[in-house]
Amino acid sequence: MATIDNEHLTTLKGAYDVQLMEVSLRVQRFGGEEDSRRRYETYTVEVPTTATLLDCLDAVKDKHDGSLAYRKSCRMAVCGSCGMRLDGGAVLACKVPMRPYVDAGHVVTVAPMGNLPVVKDLVVDMQPFWHKVRAVKPWLDTSDEAPPQTEWRVAPEQQEAISKESLCIMCGCCVSECNSMEADPDFLGPAALAKAYRFVGDVRDLDTRDRLRDLNGAHGIWDCTRCYFCNQRCPKGVDPRDAIAKLGAETFREGLHDGIQTLMTDEGARHAKVFIESTYKGGYLRETELVPKTIGPLGALKEIPFALQLARAGKVPNPLMPHKAKDNAEVKRLWKLLEQQTPRHQERALRPEDVTTAKGV
């Protein structure tokens, strides 16, 4: 069997025109339970100019330190295994080309994702992540509805409504920098909530109200502080923050039109409702109304010292002379028109009998 010597390799490289570059990485090392010290090691590897961050880590593991731990599988941004932080922001290691960093002379810092416990080096424990995804019941609930004789028919535009959320590969990048999860580790978080919308928005699912009721509780949709880190980080364009906004809109649609007050008891939903009414009346947001109406009269009493502090600085607009936008009547007409246009219920998929009819056509 012929051995491949260095000369042969150089010839091969020439044949395929592989250009090499040197990449330096500062990698966070942490040995797990028996090692409480986190430290950084810098490695320099020679890799093709087309190399990704994952290729570089492979080279480190092959040539420098076989004990370096990280997850990978598909190498093509499909499996969601290789989430990690590059210079503080979560990425899929297999999706990031390193050439621009080399050209800029910048040594990147690689660390495990945030908001999840670290097991070893770049490997995090995904258990809390899966736990939250499972908590939103990530499956279709068609309850006791008789199964269709042929199939559930979903129109292309109905599928389109949940197409972005269906792209999620469960990598956890959106969770890594979620600001609300840093403050409340029990917050369901962007990935689980995007998954929740994938089912709330699915016309075949019959559990919409119960789902929304659960999502409106503690650690649910109203915990989201709209920092937009999730949209910024997601490598698949899921835009979890937008999915959370859609869950808010569904809550209002179901809750206000059908008078399901249980859906509207969350302080977050109440705040949203007061906000909308405030702009309806005056065209502007009137902060004075927000505090008592959001937290209720008893809560507001507790807030009196705080409110006085704001009043002293002139931050509380006069409740007797609310500021009104000129021509506010225009806005009221607009609101009424749009309310008439709002569909009262989500249009559901064709039922089995419709399918039969459709088949007959």
Binding site: S180, F187, G248, G268, A313, K315, H323, L334
Partner: protein, 303 residues
């Protein structure tokens, strides 16, 4: 930088943060740019309206953009991160989807509201003065050096993320505020939480979570030795300023960090009178030391 802007102060600068409005008008006069008022604009429909009634939000924004268009200016100038993201998002939707623009305009027409043809760009004051000829113009009016003042920049979220709707600078390593602080003769302070959230959107509904977020920047800026923080967003300002003592209670340590609106910092460096910058309208007052370092121009020595 333009010569004329359709000026959209938004809810906060019109009501509880009037000092931001007066400072913006004053710095604009120094920069010799004209701000055209739009008296019948409403809230842009950001936040909760956007979330709960997305179609109402889109129409409110369209109505504002239509009014901006009728001023003849090419750019709507905002001084709020949240207005900036929400108006840009609505604008992008209307500009890139002709069917949607037609539907919205049809609704506006039905209730006798002027329609929008998609010809306005939405930009934040920070972007206009931190780059290009706007920056040169600011440098030439920043005549009072704020030397010795240590300023912690706080960007807030919705002027950085999502970059595909904002895209002025690297959302993880922004530097526009630092550039302006330096141009004022002051010293920018670096700290990791400068790109994080102030917690304002949920401070009424989830105060504990919001304060948990707010503590971080206050703590880091204090520990890094900042004299003041500066922010381009009135919601961040309200959170950092008015909720500061609640954050201190949570952190179990005192904070005494004056928070400046961007326009106030620029105004101080350009010699705008203290009476116009109206620091008295802040909950967290300026210390004598900070007043000195800000070199407040006060003809009647009254701050």
């Amino acid at each position: 930088m333009q010569e004329r802007y359709a000026y959209y102060p938004g809810c906060l600068a019109s009501l509880s943060q009037k000092e931001l409005d007066s400072s913006t008008r004053a710095i604009s006069a120094k920069l010799e740019i004209e701000l055209i008022d739009m008296p019948s604009v409403t809230c842009c429909g950001a936040g909760d309206i956007h979330e709960a009634k997305p179609d109402y939000y889109l129409h409110l924004s369209a109505r504002i953009l239509a009014q901006a268009e009728r001023t003849g200016a090419e750019v709507l100038l905002t001084i709020c991160n949240v207005c900036c993201l929400n108006l840009r998002q609505a604008n992008k939707k209307l500009q890139s989807d002709p069917a949607e623009l037609a539907r919205v305009n049809d609704n506006l027409m039905q209730v006798d509201i002027p329609t929008y043809s998609g010809g306005v760009e939405v930009r934040h004051l920070l972007w206009e003065v931190s780059a290009g000829d706007g920056f040169e113009r600011f440098r030439s009016v920043a005549v009072r050096s704020l030397e010795g003042l240590r300023v912690a920049p706080f960007y807030g979220c919705q002027i950085l993320r999502p970059a595909k709707l904002l895209g002025f600078e690297d959302p993880d390593r922004p530097e526009s505020l630092e550039r302006l602080i330096t141009a004022c003769g002051a010293e920018p302070i670096d700290y990791p939480a400068k790109v994080k959230c102030c917690g304002f959107p949920i401070v009424l509904a989830r105060e504990d979570v919001a304060l948990g977020e707010l503590v971080q920047p206050l703590q880091e800026a204090t520990d890094a030795g900042a004299d003041v923080m500066v922010t381009p967003c009135p919601l961040c300002h309200l959170s950092l300023d008015a909720w500061q003592q609640k954050a201190a209670n949570l952190a179990g340590r005192p904070f005494q960090m004056p928070i400046l609106h961007l326009a106030q910092l620029l105004g101080a460096a350009a010699g705008v009178e203290a009476d116009t910058l109206r620091f008295r309208r802040h909950v967290t007052r300026l210390s004598e030391d900070v007043k000195d370092k800000l070199r407040l121009y006060d003809p009647v020595a009254r701050v």
